[in-house]
Amino acid sequence: MGNWEVVIGLEIHAQLATRSKIFSGSPTAYGAAPNTQADLVDLAYPGVLPVFNGEALRMAVKFGLAIDAHIAPRSIFARKNYFYPDLPKGYQISQYEHPVVGKGAITILLDDGTVKRVGVTRAHLEEDAGKSLHEGLANASGIDLNRAGTPLLEIVSEPDMRSAKEAVAYMKKMHTLVRYLEICDGNMQEGSFRCDANVSVRQQGAAKFGTRAEIKNLNSFRFVEKAIQYEVARQIEIIESGGKVVQETRLYDSDKNETRSMRSKEEANDYRYFPDPDLLPLEIEEGFIDSVRATLPELPDEKAARFARDFALSAYDAGVLSASRELGAYFEAVVTALGQAHAKLAANWVMGELSGMLNRDSVEIGESRISAEALAGLLRRIVDTTISGKIAKEVFESMWSDGKPADAIIEERGLKQITDSGAIERVIDEVMAANPKQLADYRSGKDKLFGFFVGQVQKATGGKANPAQLNELLKTKLAGGQAEPARHS
């Protein structure tokens, strides 16, 4: 035993960002008082009928085109029948045999730098259910139907992932994609983007898949990773101790970090799917597909490739900077203002200092307190050697807190680098005079003391001496020679 291969497939539920519900005119906004966003259709009153929201179709098609999938010219809504109080009709309108989006694929970047293709089996439109609330009500359950009828795109992957990390990479990539397409707000806390994970294990090289368990309703990347890791370990342990994994639905408990059985295959509902006679088949014409294609933005992979190519960035940097449309746009604005030759510097700062600050203060890139132009203004001062990188970090912090432009801060605090060789030489002379022993030691061969002199000079100048110039002048002076006028750009 021992050599186990993990097989994972994900079903992602992305809430489509339509203003009204998929089959009624109620608004979809999150957070309203219970049942204030449910009309007679959402409440499944006798006699009411669903009317399909065409905006949801436009979004589904947009997604399909983005993953290079087949768009079904004719897809069909079906009823999935089961009883539950938060499902007012007693059936969910979904798509079963004929989904709107067929086979497609996306790529993910693995840790070792290789690119892996993950297949998408299908994506279909369906309505969300309401919510049952069990807390705060004595001897009863509350039902909130605000979410009932919210449009969902269920994206079903092929069982192509081989580790929890790959599953997370796939989910992140999908998360990036749906936000790029502006078809989902991606808010995982509000449940706008969540997934079910199908997990199984098998002996390395085995032809058949092992029996899988489905872990329901994972709403964070961390939970996806932890739940899968737990589930893999559980299944391996069962098999290695001579048992058999049973096909079942499991729930992940994030407090205890474990998965628990919800229902077995035998207890599973027979959903009695059949075409919904209240809704016509969705007929999609080429012209419609073309009109949607015309609205496709530059996709994450395309943007990353362009960044790598045009700005000479590594695949990793290009991937990070294209992870969201907003971040990519910010980065490009910095590069535009600063000049393409300094793209790597811009990349380092956006991914380093800026991202760190955004994270620290939980601010989205769109709300950054330092605009792309302002950041470029700061970086320009590094490029023209007005300040050193080290000083720039100080200036950056001030910019973040006061919102002033870099030049103003440099001016006010006198942070401008000293590039006047005469001035630097004067300080060197003073330092040499004050440290005769070290000077003698250096001159007798203790090269390491060079750093000591650099430190002393910068201490005396408040770190403002241009480092390159300082090095050059100091070397000459310590050697006992006469400095030449320094050149700098």
Binding site: L40, P46, G47, L49, P88, G90, R272, L280
Partner: protein
């Protein structure tokens, strides 16, 4: 008498201000009060609302407004949601349900100025052919109160035949307008699927349900259908096609019209009924129409096909009646499952439960292909055969029912025999075609109906043919004794 006048005549008198809508409304309300107890055709009387609506109609008339239905009293089948009025669907499940909105059909008729007198009894959730499955008890046939009026629009048919209103509305899923119209001697129209909005009409089998009219003549039905029909953005299956001016098209001559006699409809038909149908076709021939025999080999499969498709859809449509948000709820449920089981077990009657169980079965894993899918294939075959027939003929003709009205209690314990009562009407529903039943004689003093079926959206042709027939005959003017 006022109640014998056609809708056109009533509209003329109202327009001439010789008659007020309030007078007319009082007249019908009085008849309901006097005659309905023996019939049980009307289960909710909305006298107050009716008189208010009538007064409003009179005010509109006084202001010079005219309309074919302005001020005309009607009764709605209790399957249509009526804002602020109990809408029971003939079921204990909805005995306490006051609809918070008007069905599109109700709203359209309301804005045309009709006066709603009340709501008509019906088979529970429109499931039945005799009006014996109603929670409110059976409806009696005004021609013979020991006989059924047919169903499921039995209350509407009996009310129309007994002249309790100028006309009534109904719905037809497998014959529920045409069959009771035939058994009560009136004219019933089931339009093309999609012609009339289903919004607000409590669903039985969504792919088959269609709203229509039960009236005393084709001309009356034409006036009503013109108002009821039309595209409704709230019903995705309603068809966005202009509504013809049905009343204006009634006089199109029948010369050259090709009528196909459905051979399958005469197999095993009682000779006396068959003779009446042949007599009726003789009238059409005399009017210049041509008749020829047509065969639809798969038509005899209609009943078994229907009893897979309709229950399948109903099993899902009726899932919303769960005791949670409205309608019947059992006392002191122990838990959720108990709430579901007892609310539904106590709220639904036997026939509804039978169909829910049948439907659940045919949709179940392992049976779906053998039943539901196969039924859909047969449905397509039947539809194709109709289409092929309409390449040869303009209309199809045959009987509406195999027999005249049968005694109350005769078939209620034998579902299959009961189901076979719709053997001639179900085909049109499966194919989504319009159909009309018009009275064409009596057998043992009970009315017999002639059925005409047309291609999709051929309502004008159907109503025209029925109207021409009614100009040449007087079967439609016969009134049940005691209701003159």
């Amino acid at each position: 008498m006022l109640h014998d006048l056609s809708i056109g005549e009533l509209a003329d008198r109202l327009a001439a201000r010789e008659l007020s809508s309030v007078e007319l409304t009082r007249h019908f309300l009085e008849r309901i009060e006097r005659l309905n107890p023996a019939l049980n055709a009307v289960i909710t009387v909305t006298a107050e609302g009716a008189l208010a609506a009538a007064a409003q109609a009179d005010a509109r008339l006084a202001a010079g407004e005219r309309g074919p239905l302005l001020g005309i009293p009607l009764i709605h089948k209790d399957i249509f949601c009526t804002d602020g009025v109990r809408t029971s669907c003939g079921s204990r499940m909805l005995d306490n349900f006051v609809a918070p909105y008007d069905a599109t059909v109700v709203a359209k008729l309301k804005s045309a100025g009709v006066v709603m007198l009340g709501k008509a009894n019906m088979d529970e959730f429109a499931m039945g052919s005799s009006n014996e499955t109603s929670f409110y008890g059976p409806v009696r046939n005004p021609w013979d109160t020991t006989k059924v009026p047919g169903g499921s629009s039995g209350g509407s048919a009996a009310a129309s035949a007994a002249r309790l209103a100028a006309f009534t509305t109904g719905t037809d899923t497998g014959g529920s307008i045409r069959q009771p119209a035939a058994l009560t001697g009136i004219t019933g129209v089931k339009p093309t699927y999609g012609r009339v909005s289903r919004y607000g009409m409590i669903a039985f089998a969504s792919s088959l349900d269609q709203a229509g009219v039960l009236a005393r003549s084709a001309a009356d039905a034409a006036a009503v259908l013109k108002v009821m029909a039309g595209f409704d953005p709230r019903d995705s299956t309603s068809v966005d096609a202009p509504v013809p001016d049905y009343p204006a098209l009634l006089d199109a001559p029948l010369k050259g019209l090709k009528i196909g006699l459905l051979r399958e409809f005469f197999d095993g038909l009682e000779p006396r009924n068959a003779k009446l149908i042949h007599d009726a076709l003789g009238v059409f021939t005399a009017l210049g129409a041509e008749t020829l025999e047509v065969s639809l080999p798969h038509l005899p499969m209609s009943v078994p096909t229907y009893y897979v498709v309709a229950p399948a859809e109903c099993s899902s449509n009726l899932s919303r009646f769960d005791g949670v948000r409205y309608g019947y709820r059992c006392d002191h449920p122990k838990d959720l499952t108990d709430l579901y089981e007892r609310s539904r077990g106590e709220g639904f009657g036997a026939e509804v439960k039978r169909r829910i169980m049948t439907g659940t079965y045919v949709l179940s894993a392992g049976y779906f292909d053998a039943y539901y899918l196969k039924a859909q294939r047969v449905r397509r075959l039947i539809t194709d055969e109709f289409r092929a027939a309409f390449e040869k003929v303009d209309l199809l003709a045959g009987p509406t029912t195999p027999t005249p009205a049968f005694p109350i209690g005769a078939k209620i314990d034998d579902p299959v025999t009961m189901y076979l009562n719709d053997i001639y009407t179900i085909g049109a529903n499966l194919a989504g075609l319009p159909g009309v039943s018009a009275p064409c004689g009596l057998v043992d003093g009970l009315p017999v109906g002639l059925q005409l079926i047309g291609p999709h959206f051929a309502e004008a042709k159907l109503l025209g043919a029925a109207h021409q027939y009614q100009l040449a005959t007087d079967w439609h003017t016969l009134r049940p004794r005691g209701y003159e």
